[in-house]
Amino acid sequence: MSGTLSENGKAAVLSLLILAVGLIAWEVSIPAQQLAGEMTEYERLMGGGSPRAGIPAPSQVAAKAWEQLSDPFYDAGPNDKGIGIQLAHSLGRVLTGYGLAAAMAIPLGFLIGMSPVAYKALNPFIQVLRPISPLAWMPLALFVIQDSEASAIFVIFICSIWPMLLNTAFGVAGVRQDWVNVARTHELGALRTAMTVILPAAAPTIITGMRISIGIAWLVIVAAEMLVGGTGIGYYVWNEWNNVDLASVIFSILMIGIVGMILDSAFGLLSRRLAYAE
């Protein structure tokens, strides 16, 4: 059988096998609730008879997922919205903050990449600001902006700006002098040179920065929404934890992973389209 399958085919079979084994191991490792009659007196006295919240079995999570995904956009009040609505809120915040960051980081990165003086002048600020955990900005953002929604967007902005800024600067600074000379001997102006030579030359590096940034933004939004509350997938996870609905918690963790994967592969697709070989 192994002779007839392609490498991808083998990998897919193996993946499914790992999934099945994992799910079965998970399912059987959940201890069934013991009946009161089977308990020792000591266990009964220790409260063993009362229903316990345990890790739900995969079958319970699957049932929850089916229930949620069959009606993802229902809205039954502030604490009971469909998974689709929550994800849409999170994505909206991520894309707003990320879009603002890109709008600022890419032109600024161009400037830094083109001018060694600008690079040296701005580098100390970047090096200090970059390692700050985005959530550390949250109290300051809440105080200054006075709006939790905008503060969450600000946190996304501040965490996604650095990889894009540094990669754009790096990509622009690394554009081969030969290509710049081609632009010069063709008398291209600064803007035409930037758009038709430097941008396509630096595009793969810039896209890599954008891909790192979107990954970080998606990581950070969950934590940010746990803090600001109201809506979003981060808030949803925390809310279901408060409800001790672990099936929902696991389901939403899974959804965070899937959305993150989709965002990443979208950039992967884009980077393959803009890649070039020398």
Binding site: D178, R184, H186, P200, A201, L274
Partner: protein, 298 residues
């Protein structure tokens, strides 16, 4: 005396040597190129050929001296001076066709897409590129094909002066021969003025009207200007049978082998360094007496 089409006057280039002093690559170099002339410059590596090329292209500034083309001083890069770089310098994210279009669009921003496209295809086919090859990216083309695209891009813009920086340096001998023939064909059709750097003596004799010989650095100089007294059209297979071929070739080999070293390192002491005109022609009934050579020099 009227100035030649391209005149290089007292061109000097010095670089810091990294120890606080200066290295003089060449100084007071003075020579000219006539309109429609094909001139090759021969010399050892690091003698400053590429520096001269970059100055002519406007990509580098000389320490002192003036380069004028058509009466106007060269101050920076211009579409009037097309460059073919040794490493092709094609934009790798564009197809061969799009690379040529890129050049034409820069030259003629007012042209329609269709007209630009037509001109690009025309020049690509002149260097023997047609069909699906022109839609490939440079990385999918062989070195020879890339250099063809680069030549097509330069010629399609009809620059007043075409600068070729060792265009065939990275190619194998067979490919080199084919593209030399294509270059000759496209050049004889357009009558462009060409200034070309090369390391290859036979290539220079085949292509050039005149060969400038450069001595080694530091204080390199354009020491001789050798006229190629072999009539055109020249064909690679028959050119070697011409009585002038080996005398010229021997002269060049002797220069590169001996005299280029002997001349190295002598400062100009403020005098313009004009190359000595050399004419070797065994088909000429008059023997090349010293007096005759002198007359040509003056």
């Amino acid at each position: 005396m009227t100035k030649p089409f391209l005149s290089i006057e007292r061109l000097t280039q010095r670089f810091p040597d990294g120890k606080g002093g200066q290295v003089t690559v060449f100084e007071n170099a003075s020579f000219g190129i006539e309109r429609g002339e094909f001139v090759c410059i021969l010399g050892h590596s690091r003698c400053g050929k590429s520096t001269i090329m970059n100055i002519l292209a406007g990509l580098a500034q000389p320490t002192s001296g003036v380069v004028a083309m058509d009466g106007a001083e060269i101050g920076g890069p211009s579409l009037d001076r097309g460059v073919v770089f040794q490493n092709y310098s094609l934009l790798p994210w564009l197809s061969a066709l799009a690379n040529v279009r890129f050049g034409i669009r820069a030259r003629h921003p007012d042209w329609s897409r269709a007209r630009i496209d037509e001109r690009a295809r025309e020049f690509l086919s002149m260097v023997g590129l047609q069909g699906e090859a022109i839609d490939r990216k440079p990385c999918q083309l062989s070195g020879g094909m890339r250099q063809r695209v680069s030549i097509a891009r330069a010629f399609a813009n009809h620059p007043k002066l075409l600068l070729l920086d060792e265009p065939f340096g990275a190619l194998d001998a067979l490919t080199r021969g084919t593209i030399q023939d294509e270059l000759l064909k496209i050049w004889s059709g357009t009558g462009q003025t060409v200034f070309m750097i090369t390391h290859d003596i036979d290539e220079a004799i085949l292509l050039a009207d005149r060969i400038l010989l450069m001595s080694n650095g530091p204080y390199a100089r354009v020491a001789e200007s050798v006229e190629i007294t072999i009539p055109r059209p020249r064909v690679r297979t028959t050119i070697v049978e011409h009585p002038n071929y080996y005398p010229i070739r021997n002269h060049l080999v002797q220069f590169l082998g001996k005299r280029s070293k002997a001349l190295s390192g002598t400062p100009s002491e403020g005098r313009p360094q004009v190359p000595e005109a050399v004419r070797i022609d065994l088909t000429d009934p008059l023997p090349p007496e010293p007096a005759r050579l002198h007359a040509i020099r003056a």
